[in-house]
Symmetry: C2
Subunit: 328 residues, 2 copies
């Protein structure tokens, strides 16, 4: 089982499915091999384009992602799909989900599909998703699609990973659902009106354009001058009938050109790595401090004392830091 890291990395670079799957499992479980593997692969990353597809449950995101992936495969782009969706119909679990998804791309080594459970990752779901994207990047996938339902802070963090954010809406979902729009409006680079053959599509598109024209630009893009500002387009699709997929791919490509030429990509990537570095520092030091302060057992005792109000949490932390001998 103890494959040398360099061999393993070589297999990932070659796109070998088993090696990639094992690496993802290592990332998810935060095993000791994950870090040296990612470190070895890191210089081969940076060429992938990450598109986040997000929207309320019932908007048909999964089908849209599937069709978009098929479109990229036709262009001979290698594709990675990461499905992070707690409301996915594949509630039989992530593995079952992968099997169902895989069927339509069976035998195609140019596509790698992975569903990720939405809980229980050591170090957080956003970290795991970011590292899996990095791995697929190293494995030569040029188009990486990340599917996620667009609510919750963790989800927003995942969406921030993406170079391009596609927000999916459908006509006919209840008003309560459409209220989700407010949060999604701010993060969308492209809006998809899926199931656009349904009643109410025209009205929703009108509303959408009205809201977009009023919308304040993203905070981190405020430095861009007005004529260079990206105006999020609305693309109509019927994913189940493969309608509008090409137009969506065109919009994504157009945004890519804009994003890369305006310098926003470099800025966004720097911000992403800043946050990742902070996370890495935190987990590294935490391990050291906890070990020095007596490990999990001492921590649990301290927590029990706080729960019983024998100690306040701030004094407890000071005690732990003092014990760690790190002079902080």
């Amino acid at each position: 089982m103890s494959l040398p890291i360099e061999t393993w990395a070589e297999q990932v670079r070659a796109g070998e499915t088993r090696a990639i799957s094992r690496a993802i499992t290592a990332i998810e479980n935060h095993t000791p091999e994950a870090e040296p593997l990612l470190k070895t692969l890191f210089p081969q990353t940076g060429a992938a384009y990450l598109t986040g597809i997000t929207g309320a449950p019932g908007t048909g995101k999964s089908t849209l992602v599937d069709r978009l992936a098929a479109h990229y495969r036709k262009q001979e782009d290698r594709v990675g799909v990461i499905a992070v969706d707690p409301t996915s119909p594949y509630t039989g679990g992530a593995i079952l989900g992968d099997r169902i998804r895989m069927q339509s791309h069976a035998g195609d080594a140019g596509i790698f599909i992975r569903s990720m459970a939405t809980r229980g990752f050591l170090g957080g779901l956003a970290r795991a998703t970011a590292e899996v994207a990095l791995l697929l990047d190293a494995a030569g996938k040029r188009q990486i699609l990340i599917e996620t339902v667009g609510v919750g802070q963790d989800e927003i963090e995942i969406v921030r990973l993406a170079d391009c954010v596609v927000v999916v809406l459908v006509p006919g979902l209840g008003d309560d659902i459409q209220n989700m729009k407010a949060g999604l409006m701010e993060i969308g680079d492209i809006f998809v009106l899926n199931k656009s053959d349904r009643e109410g599509a025209d009205r929703l598109e009108e509303q959408l354009h009205a809201m977009l024209s009023m919308a304040t630009p993203k905070v981190d893009r405020s430095s861009v001058s007005d004529e260079n500002r990206w105006h999020p387009p609305v693309v109509r699709t019927v994913a189940t009938e493969n309608k509008g997929i090409e137009k969506l791919a065109e919009a994504i490509a157009r945004f890519r050109t804009h994003f890369e030429s305006s310098g926003e990509r470099a800025k966004k990537h720097t911000e992403h790595w800043r946050n990742r570095l902070v996370e890495l520092i935190e987990s590294r030091i935490l391990e050291r401090v906890l070990n020095a302060a007596g490990g999990e057992e001492a921590l649990n005792q301290m927590a029990a004392d706080v729960a019983e109000r024998l100690k306040d949490p701030f004094s407890a932390v000071n005690e732990i830091l003092a014990k760690s001998g790190l002079q902080i």
Copy 2:
């Protein structure tokens, strides 16, 4: 403006609305006064009972919370409400939401209602929610209701704060929405079938009972012997007509007795404080390390280098730690 911490704490203990509001703002913005204030108030906490109310958008959670709060007020329990709901119809922002909510309890000093935005908190939404709950606890609120939409990891973390988790379902939402159930099933201590006068309520209740009888018990309760195991009840309500609210309050009280006598509460609270201590340690050390390593500017330069693949993230972290002089 620079009120002495002890005076401020005294005002919070006395339940003064303005002092509580100011404290919440300090918590949300992570200002320097927040920590000493919470430290001062900490010994007066621990008496509140936290109930989390969660469910998909459109299930009528807000109304249910409002009615339940009114019920507790009739029992002369002081009540705190924390609404953490990105899909809340009050999209005009958290403050507008508070105003709308407040109207039905206007002039009642025994209830404090606060909506929290779902993004942009320094240190995370779960931390802010936990600290606001602690504050309301110190302010003498004995029933604290936390309303949240039940998706996303951050949300799950918030739900974990609660002593009792109420999951709200309604008949007639699309199948896609009901798929959210899968994740919610695991965390519910009590299930509410709201809008139970609607068509499909009987069928949904049957499905719910069937799913509950199959459900595996919560992982952290596996140590509880079978006869002492809590069997989540299903309570039918029509919140808009104030129907079933008393029964819901009874179920919550029954769970409280079970939860406290079985020792699960102490266990859950210890686990909660363990996680909070870790968070506090992380933020404390991080500040120190970053300052020692050259501050935000040095960090951003490092991040830019990583984004350009001049350096891998793991080597960058080692460099920062080496510069911090903490010998980690």
